[in-house]
């Protein structure tokens, strides 16, 4: 590592910066990917990008906001690539090009008469959040899971406060509907 990656931070402080933000960044990414190993890999990429771009960071936004924005963008990129791979895999299976049998997601055994375990409930919610549109999902993850204020969400998503309010309002409405439909079938 070279010395002094930026006027805002030197290489010694870069370690402190990583230690300070790593868990928050990791959790943001984990909300998008639902896989710890993938989240760690993407978090690593985030900090490499932070290190590379620190010299050009102009301080227009807070450093933490900037880092969280990189984390969100990297997560969305990773999801896009993963979904593309998944679709290609499905295509290969359909056309018989793929010899390797892909793991199929096994549906959770749900017993409508028993009280749902909190883990199972959390998983149902996660899946419902996952099925939202990209913008609604991002706003909900940042606000509801990670506890960022509307203002902070707007800064991370580089949008306006009313837009975030609308995204979260519509997102929650959609979530309720999706969950209602899910429980109507399973109960």
């Amino acid at each position: 590592m070279k010395n002094a990656p930026s006027k805002y931070i030197d290489s010694v402080n870069f370690k402190e910066l990583v230690l300070e933000h790593q868990n928050r960044v990791l959790n943001i990414i984990f909300r998008f990917l639902n896989n710890k190993e993938d989240a760690e890999d993407v978090a690593q990429d985030v900090f490499v990008k932070v290190y590379q771009n620190l010299p050009t960071f102009q301080g227009k936004a807070q450093l933490s906001t900037w880092i969280h924005r990189i984390a969100v963008n990297k997560s969305l990129d990773f999801r896009r690539k993963r979904n593309r791979k998944k679709r290609l895999g499905e295509f290969k299976q359909l056309t018989g090009f793929n010899d390797v049998e892909e793991k199929l997601e096994t549906p959770e055994a749900s017993n409508p008469h028993s009280v749902l375990e909190s883990k199972e409930r959390a998983l149902i919610l996660k899946r419902a959040v996952d099925s939202l549109s990209k913008k609604q999902r991002t706003a909900i993850i940042l606000n509801k899971y990670e506890g960022f204020s509307y203002q902070e969400v707007a800064a991370i998503m580089q949008t306006t406060l009313p837009a975030v309010e609308s995204l979260i309002h519509k997102g929650m409405k959609n979530l309720r509907k999706k969950l209602f439909d899910y429980f109507r079938i399973t109960m």
């Binding site: 590592m1 959790n27 690593q44 490499v48 749902l116 919610l125 419902a128 899971y145 109960m187």
Partner: protein
């Protein structure tokens, strides 16, 4: 029947609300203790790669044109040398004809005929 449906709707709504409460206790994960070491290794690998690509770009931008220039220069020198040797050979032949004509006291006409039939 309507009462039963109402009850079911209320039950479902209660389940929905209960599920939404999971937002309040999100599952948190911790990064591995070697996380920074991994980041550092990734940065070092990237910098090494950049240095290597820098060296190859020096080769591409400086050494390759210099090499091509050198080849062209060698070709020019060789061509120049060959042409100058041909001129010398021609001068030598003319001199031989001249001295031959002089020795045998050829007339100007004979000399011209010899010169015209000069083997190139």
């Amino acid at each position: 029947m309507t009462g039963e449906l109402m009850n079911k709707k209320k039950l479902i709504e209660a389940e929905v609300e209960k599920t939404l409460q999971c937002f309040d206790q999100p599952e948190k994960i911790e990064s591995s203790p070697f996380f920074f070491t991994r980041v550092q290794a990734a940065i070092n690998a990237l910098e090494k790669k950049e240095t290597e690509s820098g060296i190859s770009s020096i080769f591409e931008n400086v050494l390759r044109p210099a090499f091509i220039g050198g080849i062209v220069l060698i070709n020019l020198i060789t061509a120049g040398f060959t042409l100058s040797r041909q001129d010398t050979r021609r001068t030598t032949k003319s001199q031989v004809i001249y001295s031959f004509a002089e020795e045998y006291a050829f007339t100007q006409n004979d000399y011209d005929i010899l010169k015209m039939n000069e083997v190139r």
